[in-house]
């Protein structure tokens, strides 16, 4: 006897279609808003002369981290500039910054809520597992009917893909706060809000920063992949090199991604350490 195949794909497609038609006004609004954000951040970063932005970033590295990182950042950025990849690098950076910002803005309250409510915790953790293990490309497909080809779709997919660590680490950080300290705060009559702001969040900050660091790294990798659905930036340079079979160009863009990744990673890590 033949067991009929379960039309899982059809159902999901039907659901997505319904969502897109039902909420087209909303999605179009979001799309326009996000695109404006992307454009203005891009424009202002590109309005600065290359050397000026390079100096600002190096200075930032020096202030937050070390002179070594400052020198490394300056050298790396100079190489990107020299290779003629400055503007794609800015476009990628913009996407990462915006996607990370949105992801963190959503992740913090969700992570806090999951830490404070056992019910929510049991609901959210499997959802996070699902989000993280689903192959990254799959998010790109529904993004298109919602937001069309381009950078907005890229950000949508990136936010979903990169958000889980920020949620997870926020929850973990808050749950790790020793019970004695919670008890001490209670004993002095702290409200829930005071406990959160004065004890739980400050003590979990290093852990939360570790989560944000991971979110940034995931966002960068996704933004590069999102070139497949028309996101601008270093990813599209790689994509073009593949189509034209020019490995040299591909590697140059790839190296630019690596430099950007290392810069963002070291910078957020030292931000975390300086807070401890």
């Amino acid at each position: 006897m033949d067991i009929p195949r379960i039309p899982l794909g059809n159902w999901i497609e039907g659901g997505l279609n319904w969502l897109t038609s039902e909420y087209s006004l909303v999605t179009r609004g979001i799309s326009r808003f996000t695109q404006t954000g992307i454009n203005s951040l891009n424009d202002s970063l590109m309005w600065l002369p290359e050397w000026a932005l390079l100096a600002i970033i190096a200075l930032l590295c020096w202030k937050i981290a070390s002179i070594r990182l400052a020198i490394g950042a300056a050298a790396g950025l100079a190489l990107i500039w020299n290779l003629g990849l400055w503007n794609p690098m800015i476009e990628t950076l913009t996407l990462v910054v915006i996607a990370t910002f949105v992801a963190v803005v959503i992740a913090l309250p969700v992570g806090i809520a999951a830490a404070l409510s056992e019910r929510l915790y049991r609901l959210i953790m499997p959802a996070l597992d699902f989000m993280q293990t689903m192959p990254a490309f799959v998010y790109l497909i529904p993004a298109i009917p919602f937001f069309g080809i381009g950078s907005v779709s890229a950000i949508f997919a990136t936010v979903i893909f990169s958000m889980p660590p920020a949620i997870r680490f926020t929850t973990l950080g808050i749950r790790q706060v020793p019970v004695e300290l919670i008890e001490a705060a209670d004993a002095y009559g702290a409200t829930r809000g005071q406990k959160l702001v004065k004890v739980q969040l400050p003590l979990s900050l290093p852990t939360i920063m570790a989560g944000i660091n991971q979110t940034i790294m995931l966002a960068l990798s996704m933004v590069v992949i999102a070139a497949m659905i028309g996101a601008d930036g270093l990813g599209s340079e790689v994509w073009r090199a593949i189509q034209r079979l020019r490995p040299g160009d591909g590697f140059e863009a790839g190296i630019a991604v690596v430099i950007l990744a290392m810069l963002l990673d070291r910078l957020t890590q030292s931000l975390r350490k300086s807070r401890q």
Partner: protein, 400 residues
């Protein structure tokens, strides 16, 4: 005990069951079962059973018992860090177990400061910020709370450490911060859960001494928990003895030592009956400093200051005891430009021979509580006995 003192906290019929069906556990309790049987039958722990006692205004009440006797549970029921199962806890007319969430917060802020066994300092806050915590929670403005916290830190001897972080301090200093946090808060009751148990013995003695000094200055109502008889005898005005979640005796250290309520208490202070054979000599300490009759008042006063005492025994060259000089009197002698202190001595103190039974000494500590002088037959000063030493000696005898 002094019936005229006003009652600060009234605890009546307080019970606590850890578990999901407290009613069942209490039913069994009412049928006369004890903690171990109730645990076996219901899987629930009878943490506290039918506890009633008063905490008087300004006293230092010690709750003592072995580990697991329910001390931490009891102190946490007072400020409701643990919800009670039945009974009343009344402070200034409010019944704590029935308070709503808001009223409970308000009650904790107004009435309770707490010091914890493992300090529970906030590692991300400086010493100063830790001391300010209670005030910050209550919304006291910045300038005011800085001053108050500063004063509290000074009281516990931590001036100059305001900007350090807790992990830069030794255990003893950390607990001073914990104490400063509690003092700064100026709540009406101080709760201390084994506050000195994590400290090493010498530092622990110091802290007990300092707590006593603070206590005599501020008269703060204090509930102090310990599992250590020595500590309880040393600092307690009264002691509540807990066993398996029940009170076995309430009384002053003297009462507990001299009239143990039952065999349990007797075993706790076992050997203490030997107080009958213990004598003044065993609790006597060498005199740290004396004055000579030929000394001027300034010299005598200077010696008292050096040893932080406010009276000094005066002897002749052969250590014959002549009298006692109080700091106040010495000051008057200085004003009167007296050459020697001979005319300013008092005989208003107790002296005993070395073979005086220790138990007789309890009654001798007068209001002013000068140390008792121990003298030989020729009236030579051999040593002194201070109040704490009598209890220490009895306690030590109990441990042997």
């Amino acid at each position: 005990m002094d019936e005229t003192r006003s009652v600060k906290i009234q605890v009546r019929g307080l019970s606590k069951v850890f578990g999901k069906q407290p009613k069942k556990a209490l039913e069994l309790r009412d049928q006369g079962l004890k903690r171990p049987e109730i645990l076996e039958k219901t899987g629930q722990t009878l943490g506290l059973s039918n506890i009633s006692f008063d905490v008087y205004e300004g006293e230092l009440l010690v709750i003592m018992g072995l580990s697991g006797s329910g001390k931490s549970t009891l102190i946490r029921c007072l400020n409701r860090l643990i919800d009670t199962t039945e009974g009343d806890i009344i402070i200034d007319g409010e019944n704590i177990p029935t308070l709503g969430e808001k009223a409970l917060l308000e009650c904790r802020r107004r009435h309770f400061s707490m010091v914890f066994q493992n300090f529970a300092l906030f590692p991300h806050r400086t010493v100063q910020q830790n001391a300010e915590f209670g005030l910050e929670i209550r919304g006291i403005d910045k300038v005011e709370r800085r001053d108050i916290a500063h004063t509290a830190l000074k009281q516990v001897g931590l001036e100059g450490w305001e900007d350090a972080y807790p992990n830069q301090l030794s255990g003893g200093m950390q607990q001073r911060v914990g104490l400063a946090r509690a003092l700064a808060n100026d709540a009406s009751v101080l709760l201390m859960d084994e506050a000195f148990s994590a400290l090493d013995p010498l530092i622990r003695k110091d802290m007990q001494q300092e707590l006593l000094q603070l206590q005599s200055k501020m008269q703060k109502t204090t509930v102090f928990i310990t599992h250590d008889l020595d500590e309880a005898l040393n600092i307690g005005d009264r002691i509540v003895l807990l066993k398996d979640g029940e009170i076995v005796q309430i009384g002053t250290p003297e009462e507990i030592l001299t009239q143990p309520a039952d065999d349990y208490v007797r075993r706790f202070i076992e050997g203490v009956d030997r107080s009958r054979v213990l004598t003044a000599e065993s609790a006597m300490r060498p005199v740290r400093t004396t004055a000579r009759s030929s000394d001027g008042p300034r010299t005598a006063l200077h010696r008292m200051r050096d040893h932080s005492i406010d009276s000094i025994y005066v002897t002749d060259r052969d250590r014959h005891l002549l009298g006692l000089l109080e700091a106040e009197t010495a000051s008057r002698a200085i004003e009167a430009k007296a050459e020697t202190i001979t005319d300013y001595l008092t005989q208003d103190f107790r002296k005993v021979p070395p073979e005086e039974p220790l138990q007789n000494l309890f009654a001798m500590f007068s209001e002013k509580s000068f140390p008792i002088a121990v003298v030989d037959k020729q009236q030579r000063l051999l040593g002194v006995v201070v109040k704490g030493a009598v209890l220490d000696e009895l306690a030590r005898a109990g441990e042997q």
